[in-house]
Point group: C2
Chain length 201, copies 2
């Protein structure tokens, strides 16, 4: 694994379940969800072919678990980021820093999710759509608070909120661990860029 | 097909080759490159299973042809856009409008390319990487010209150029034809957003 696999996966127990999830991220990233067999996953986890079903009934359940962990981690990260901010510019700066840096640190899992969300079944897709809606609403609320307070100069609130979220999410597409910028440098630059987009004094 | 399939594909002849390319975009979008069999493609084109090889020796050749058409279309679109601009702000506005609107109009083909570029063989990948480098260099040069002329206030030129390109490319991920914004509305908003990111007076 070339990414920070830290606290996002640490809650997954037993360890065999966690190994299977990480092997699934690897294989989905390499071959796509549809190109991945359950054997690719168990082989990647160093387990026997039958071991998957003990932990996850289907390949679709694995994708759903990854999506849940990813979106839960994003939501927690954003809530923690804004909590320390004392006013809208500080809060949105912290949010944008955290959101962008998260997508650099977790670029492989994030890329899998962006590419493969369409493979979720309808019930799973609805649950994930709900988490994604909460992220969008949170960003919109933070941007809206700054517009209401006069800290931001924004004519098109949903458009500006979308631009922030799009910039941060797309980091997972172009980020390379061997590239010139660290996750924190990307976070700092996009926090600054967000203030410009929002016309913050 | 739900997208504008206009001039990007019109140069592909004979018509059977074009039908196969469009069917491949459909199937890659739905199942991923690795999950697509050549039968999915020929069935989607309404042709017999053996018909593919007459036009494309391998599935990889199809992906490469789509990638060539997509990147060629982007480069032509950007060059046409800046040609009419009389100064850096006008040129970058036009570039950003065209780049963003292109990714809305061609969102399905663009999404396939973003998701599946890793499946290209090394020689094909090198050719496409060269076209992508030309797009990046063009944007960097246009932003740099505005910084040099004093029209833009940019401390981090590569970072700002990356932000513009990232915003435009990510349109293909989130754009929905049934959504509230047209490709032209997205283009206009992102042209305005680009001026803010670049600190244009």
């Amino acid at each position: 694994m070339t990414e920070d696999t830290g606290d996002m996966w640490v809650t997954v127990t037993p360890e065999a379940s966690r190994r299977l999830l990480l092997a699934a991220v690897d294989s989905f990233a390499e071959r796509g969800y549809h190109g991945t067999s359950t054997r690719h996953i168990t082989a990647g986890a160093g387990m026997s072919a039958g071991a998957l079903y003990v932990h996850y009934p289907t390949k679709a359940d694995l994708l759903f678990q990854i999506a849940l962990l990813v979106h839960d981690s994003v939501l927690r990260t954003l809530h923690e980021a804004v909590a320390a901010g004392t006013g809208p510019p500080q809060r949105v700066r912290a949010l944008m820093y955290a959101f962008s840096a998260w997508h650099a640190r977790h670029h492989r899992a994030a890329r899998v999710i962006q590419n493969e969300l369409g493979a979720l079944g309808p019930e799973h897709a609805a649950q994930i759509a709900d988490l994604r809606r909460r992220v969008r609403e949170m960003i919109l609320a933070e941007v809206g608070a700054g517009a209401a307070s006069g800290d931001f100069d924004v004519a098109d609130l949903p458009g500006a909120a979308r631009a922030l979220s799009s910039l941060a999410i797309d980091v997972c597409r172009w980020y390379r661990p061997e590239g010139p910028r660290t996750p924190d440098e990307i976070g700092a630059f996009y926090a600054h860029t967000a203030m410009r987009i929002l016309g913050a004094g």
